[in-house]
């Protein structure tokens, strides 16, 4: 049942479906309207099929279809990457907001001291990254406030804590005191 206008030139021919069984042949009409005609690609002897092959080839239709699909996939990947980036930015903003509110909430109640919070962070990153002097100092104060450290007579270890330049060094110096008493507790 032929439907294609034969005396016009289409502006576009494209596979409609991913199974590549239907082609739409588009003609420009007045007032920015596109009139499309559907051609089923199951009968090469069909009059419309024959007419379509005068305008294009199956290879060209497939090439355009694959190119359009690739462009769509690339765009989706970009959107996905953008969304991931946005999530990371939002997450950082959230943490920053929380930290600031936590700081303002705890100033005064903790004698004006700033405590260090590492929630939801990669522990190895936390241990090895360079921290600010303020954060490092706050951490040392927290360590010294621990009963097991405060009650310890190990002056060498306490000196190491005071001189520590990173989170890892602070913990390494404090570990013998903390773990030693813990092991004693466990053995009791």
């Amino acid at each position: 049942m032929a439907v294609l206008p034969k005396n016009e030139t289409p502006i576009e021919t494209l596979f409609v479906d991913d199974n590549q069984t239907i082609v739409e042949v588009r003609f420009q009409r007045p007032e920015n309207h596109i009139e499309g005609f559907i051609v089923h690609m199951d009968n090469p002897e069909d009059e419309d099929y024959v007419q379509l092959m005068k305008w294009t080839t199956l290879e060209d239709l497939q090439r355009k279809h694959e190119a359009a699909n690739k462009e769509k996939r690339d765009w989706q990947q970009k959107v996905e990457n953008y969304n991931v980036l946005q999530e990371e930015i939002n997450d950082l903003r959230h943490k920053l907001d929380n930290k600031e509110s936590w700081i303002s909430k705890n100033k005064g109640s903790a004698g004006g001291r700033i405590k260090t919070v590492y929630k939801d962070q990669d522990i190895m990153e936390v241990l090895t990254k360079t921290v600010s002097k303020e954060d490092l100092f706050a951490m040392k104060i927290q360590i010294f406030e621990q009963e097991k450290v405060r009650g310890s007579q190990d002056k060498v270890a306490k000196s190491k804590i005071r001189k520590a330049q990173s989170t890892l060094e602070v913990l390494a110096a404090a570990a013998p005191m903390l773990l030693g008493e813990t092991q004693e507790e466990n053995s009791e």
Partner: protein
Amino acid sequence: MAVRTPVYWDATLNSGSGGLREMTTAAITAIKTEAAHQYGLNPSVDLSTSSGTLLTTQTDNYRVAGADSTNVSTYVTPGGTGTGSANFSLYQNVESVSAPTFSDKEAPLYWTGTQLQQFSVQDFIDTFIDGAIDILVASSGPGTYYTSGLGSTTLFVDRVYDDARVGSSYVSDDTTQTVTYTEINNTYYLNQYAAGTSLGFTAPAGWDSTNNRIQPLADASFQSLLQEFVRYQAVQSSAGIRYAWSTSAPSGYETVNSRGATIDTQRSGTTQYNQFINGNDYRSRNFPTGGLTTTETITFYVIKL
């Protein structure tokens, strides 16, 4: 309508000697179900997306980006977005099926109260085939059609403007050409329910005029007879099977059942994007954007006339 109760040979009667017995309702239903199965093996009312008697056309309406506007000193309001449309057609093919007749042994027997009587052709239709048509137009009738989002024969494709082709990079392509990128929102397929397998039945007894004796038909022969009758009845303009694909349910028929729907949608919004080409060329274009709104819903129906 003359619905008869056929008799069959029950070998358990008379202490194993056997005898004639009227069929139960369940046994008659089993024959109706077998008739529906036989229709599924060779349907006589068919649908096609490319040839036959036009049943309905659904238009896929989509929007396209408008033409660029260009100005030497500033961005000016571009023309509105455009439209596009393509028609998807469904065709119905009702086969020409000869009126069935009984040959020897084929007509089932029934007990009138005083004697055994052979079914007429109409008795056979009324007793077995009309019920088979009911089974066919109910849900999942073997060999009948439905539409869904899975399949291999495309019935309708709803396309919308591709949201990947929106933005300033699609403004400067060509000031003379409309941007017509579309993407598939949904594809609807035309499917047929499978014939399935025979659930079993008991063939009624018939009169063998060649040997002057009562004898049931062989199962395969009775199955052929059922298929011949049900194919014939399906094409009839009264109590036969037809399909519709329409915005509202057809009225005036014995049974009308929905078998899925196809939905056309379009993007609802418009967004202008600009592209600075150079100090003497400022271009703008309107793109279809935003969520999808339904333009038209067409429901696919199976009908018992």
